[in-house]
């Protein structure tokens, strides 16, 4: 039943009044979609993140910026418990999705990851056909109805702006697509499980400028329906696409604020040094 509900939700995405987006720009106006409270992260004895408290607004883009090794990717990956795969890692503090602690003992990681999708820096098409790539998520969730799968694949590809290029070659191998198309395929694949949150780990850093701008347009479209958290090294990109920007440095959240304000009038000296290119 839950499955059916998930897919009807997919077919009719919740309407998104413009005010939502505007409210996303005013943190605290409504309960955050995701929230971390004094979160810490450990690789064995190494502490990679300390005391990160951050609220992530619904249907808005939150950008995480900071120098290499500052912990922003680690932070992103701990939001859908991807770091569980790595041996010897540990989280302290709280990570809440809609007010529920995702690191609680009785949480089912598999269903958590269905609600929080992820797109990686390197595009990772499976060596299967385009159709099978997009249908992968719904299939492992147990959907076998061919018509329903076809519908989901079409909608996901349309949302990822890949439908026109891919509709005549759904049966071809996904490996035959270009780099930018492969990344959009990965976004479509993540959308096919109808997640509520989309985590993106430098999704455009390996792409040429044209493909990058297509991905940015896509993110702009997607935030109507999804909560997006994006890690980026490209500060112009963060400024272009996000409502809220969080600056990480040395495993700490240094500053978080409205993107416009953070880039034009940062409070912390460290933030200013970084965004003006004095270090990092």
């Amino acid at each position: 039943m839950a499955l059916v509900k998930a897919f009807t939700q997919f077919v009719e995405p919740p309407s998104s009044p413009v005010t939502d987006v505007a409210q996303g720009a005013a943190p605290g106006a409504r309960p955050p979609k995701l929230e971390t409270v004094q979160m810490g992260f450990f690789y064995g004895l190494n502490q990679a993140l300390r005391d990160v408290s951050l609220k992530i607004n619904e249907r808005a883009v939150t950008a995480l910026i900071g120098p290499s090794g500052c912990g922003k990717s680690t932070y992103l990956r701990s939001l859908n418990r991807m770091n569980d795969i790595i041996e010897g890692t540990r989280v302290s503090g709280k990570v809440m999705l809609d007010g529920e602690d995702i690191y609680a003992k009785d949480v089912d990681v598999v269903s958590l990851r269905k609600r929080i999708g992820m797109v990686f820096q390197k595009s990772t098409p499976f060596p299967k056909s385009i159709f099978d790539n997009v249908a992968f998520g719904p299939r492992i969730a147990g959907l076998t109805d061919k018509a329903k799968l076809t519908e989901i694949v079409e909608q996901s590809l349309q949302r990822a702006a890949l439908w026109n290029e891919a509709k005549d070659r759904l049966r071809d191998s996904a490996m035959a697509l270009s780099g930018g198309q492969q990344q959009r395929l990965c976004i479509a694949r993540a959308l096919a499980t109808s997640p509520e949150v989309l985590l993106m780990d430098e999704p455009a850093s390996a792409l040429d400028p044209a493909s990058t701008s297509r991905i940015e347009d896509l993110i702009f479209e997607l935030k109507q329906n999804y909560t997006i958290v994006i890690v980026t090294h490209n500060m112009q990109q963060a400024a272009r696409i996000s409502e809220v920007t969080a600056f990480f440095c040395m495993g700490r959240l240094v500053e978080v604020g409205q993107t416009k304000q953070l880039f034009t009038n940062p409070i912390q000296k460290e933030t200013e040094d970084y965004i003006t290119g004095r270090f990092g």
Binding site: N80, M82, I85, E87, V110, S111, R113, K114, G117, M118, F120, K122, T124, F126, P127, K128, F136, G137, I140, A141, M175, C186, R189, A190, T193
Partner: protein
């Protein structure tokens, strides 16, 4: 260094022309020596092919090769293989030997391939580094047991304590002390380490990013292993299967001890059988008249064996080459 001597004294640009140097001579000797070593394996292979072909297919007049005496049609359609019998009862049809080999290979494949693949999946996807470091030496130990020990195990343990009780006492089938099943099972166990280690290599070569992408879509560990990692490494796994099967085809000792009887055209695993390799061993142990058809039949059988294993190895190389293209 020696050649730089005179040029350096003049303080002008050093000459590029070669002069005699011991260093270069030594390099040439080393290169030549290494080339000879490489040549040795090629020469050996070519001479084996030469001997097989001249004894089996064509020889200079007088026409004395095997296939100049026995037609190819008889060789592949006759259902009896009795070259050791009295003159008028001799038949040269390789089908019974092929059948015996097929039976052993089939049984060993049914056991060794799935078991090897599952071990590979366990080692590559599930095992912790600690478990892996304990399991791998165990597998190598399995690979290091002499094949004759496997044969003895099949004859003295497997047949009386497993096969006879199950098939004879429970199902009432007739089971001989020598049967293809016992030999096939131990050959299957023998190829497990090979399948496991070759398949594990290709499974581990699947980029981690694919596994992560799978997990991020809500896959369980089993989903990731069975629906992403194994399909991605499929051609490598197939190549390891083919190599292992070609090892089964060539396996002699264990089967000779546990399964050997008369050449028989049967697919019943409870019958005694004779394979191509065992026929060769049997004849070599007896007295063979030089130049007799019996002696030449050895070469014909050996040639068939050679072609089958060579063919399988080549196919597996081709499959592997295709696999490499996908990831580079």
């Amino acid at each position: 260094m020696a050649s730089a001597g005179p040029a350096r004294r003049e303080q002008s640009t050093p000459s590029l022309r070669r002069t005699f140097s011991w260093q270069r001579t030594r390099e040439q000797f080393i290169q030549g020596g290494l080339f000879c070593c490489a040549l040795l394996s090629i020469v050996t292979t070519l001479s084996i092919i030469y001997v097989l072909v001249t004894e089996a297919i064509v020889s200079l007049p007088p026409d004395t090769s095997f296939f100049q005496e026995i037609g190819l049609v008889e060789f592949f359609s006759e259902t009896r293989w009795t070259p050791q019998y009295a003159e008028e009862q001799r038949h040269y049809g390789i089908l019974p030997l092929l059948c015996g080999t097929l039976l052993i290979t089939g049984i060993s494949g049914l056991i060794g391939l799935p078991a090897g693949l599952m071990i590979a999946i366990y080692l590559s996807e599930y095992a912790t580094p600690r478990t892996r470091s304990l399991c791998k030496p165990m597998l190598e130990l399995l690979a290091g047991i002499p094949t004759i020990v496997y044969g003895y195990f099949a004859l003295k343990v497997l047949t009386p304590f497993f096969i006879v009780p199950v098939f004879k006492h429970t199902f009432g089938l007739s089971v001989g002390g020598f049967n293809a099943l016992a030999g096939g099972i131990v050959v299957g166990i023998m190829i497990i380490p090979m399948v496991a280690s070759l398949s594990e290599d290709v499974l581990r070569a699947v980029p981690n990013s694919l596994r992560e992408a799978g997990y991020a879509l809500g896959s369980t560990k089993f989903d990731v292993s069975a629906k992403i990692v194994v399909p991605s490494a499929l051609s490598g796994i197939l190549a390891s299967f083919l190599l292992a099967l070609s090892r089964s085809i060539g396996e002699t000792m264990a089967v000779a001890i546990a399964s050997t009887g008369q050449p028989a055209l049967t697919l019943n695993p409870l019958d005694a059988i004779q394979t191509m390799t065992i026929f060769i061993v049997n004849v070599m142990q007896g007295e063979v008249v030089a130049g007799s058809t019996l002696e030449k039949s050895l070469y014909a059988v050996a040639l068939v064996l050679f072609i089958i294993t060579l063919g399988m190895n080549m196919v597996s190389q081709m499959v592997l080459a295709r696999y490499r293209e996908v990831y580079q």
